[in-house]
Symmetry: C2
Subunit: 208 residues, 2 copies
């Protein structure tokens, strides 16, 4: 038997840099899969079904919800987005790791639907740095930016719900730490106990 | 503020090779401390107090028990052995990691007295290999060896109580995995949440 892969949920406040870390992590580990979301929105130019998104109808999306095939989902500006459980499970059962980059609200949903996932929270080195990063994105108005910053700041309070917290002071360093966490988690008893069973099945093992 | 070090409890059935892995780990990580036990037995030639053991009187040992200063203890052939909490805490509070190599019964005691420790269970690649290793030690009689093997085999059942399980097929590989676990565990939320507090204290952070 082969150990199941690790589902890594990478989250954090907007502006913490979880996207950049996730991108670097996938470069470092080409064997790792990036979770592809299902969405009801129309494909944009250059987007491929099953690569960027699984493009599905509202009815199909509703069936996925009722069929409990979504680890999390949300409606944003009238379009639905969600993470298909079956897609993630297929890859994990091949022994490959999957990374899911998602906002803290979505991560909390996954914690309920897939508690064995590994939850990593990315934080900025400081609030000043956080506001700099949010301003940088910024064609938005001062007021919108202020609202984003306040939202991002309050999202920091979600940190206590995570397994690991990583400060994103340097992308390379942070991505290495995340990779290191995946390697360690592969040895978690919940993923490796079957090995002890295999050892014992090949000989007399008492007190089973 | 500095993150506290990790207390790593390295355990497993006798013959699994936890001692060898612990030794290799300490070579790889000279900054890591090896937990020194307290004992009531007399020092042997060449043994130094505070290096090999803390040599204490029966009365002092009893005081350590009643003063809740032992993470675990046991009496073996009329001598008492135990792990002093204060010694371990001093090192952890300096931000240094501590490794404690101990049998499964002792590890279970530590799990009660120090639940934040990281529990790693070392298993042999097979029962054949386990019996080979136990035989190798062997000036003992066939019957004693059989008893040891049966005990070691039943100790495998403790695996389910641990955080991580590592197969000791190659010492170098296994020691690297343990080191990797220590690095990952340093980012555990329980050890790093104070960073989020520090970030928030340097700016407005809502929903605290």
């Amino acid at each position: 038997m082969k150990p199941q892969g690790v589902l890594l949920v990478l989250s954090g406040p907007s502006g913490a840099g979880k996207g950049t870390i996730c991108h670097r992590l996938c470069e470092m580990r080409p064997e790792m899969a990036y979770s592809v979301s299902a969405t009801t929105r129309a494909p944009r130019k250059g987007e491929t079904d099953g690569v960027n998104y699984f493009f599905v109808s509202r009815q199909k999306f509703q069936e996925m919800i009722t069929g409990n095939d979504l680890l999390e989902y949300a409606e944003i500006y009238g379009n639905c987005y969600g993470t298909p459980r079956s897609y993630v499970m297929d890859i994990l059962n091949q022994g490959r790791d999957v990374v899911l980059e998602i906002d803290p609200q979505g991560a909390l949903q996954v914690k309920k639907t897939f508690p064995d996932a590994v939850f990593v929270f990315i934080v900025p080195p400081s609030l000043d740095e956080l506001s700099k990063r949010i301003y940088k994105r910024g064609t938005a108005t001062e007021e919108v930016i202020k609202r984003r910053l306040s939202a991002a700041t309050s999202e920091l309070a979600y940190a206590s719900k995570y397994d690991y917290i990583i400060v994103n002071d340097e992308v390379e360093k942070a991505a290495n730490k995340v990779g290191n966490i995946i390697d360690a988690e592969r040895n978690r008893a919940v993923r490796t106990f079957f090995i002890v069973d295999e050892i014992c099945q090949n000989g007399i093992c008492e007190e089973r």
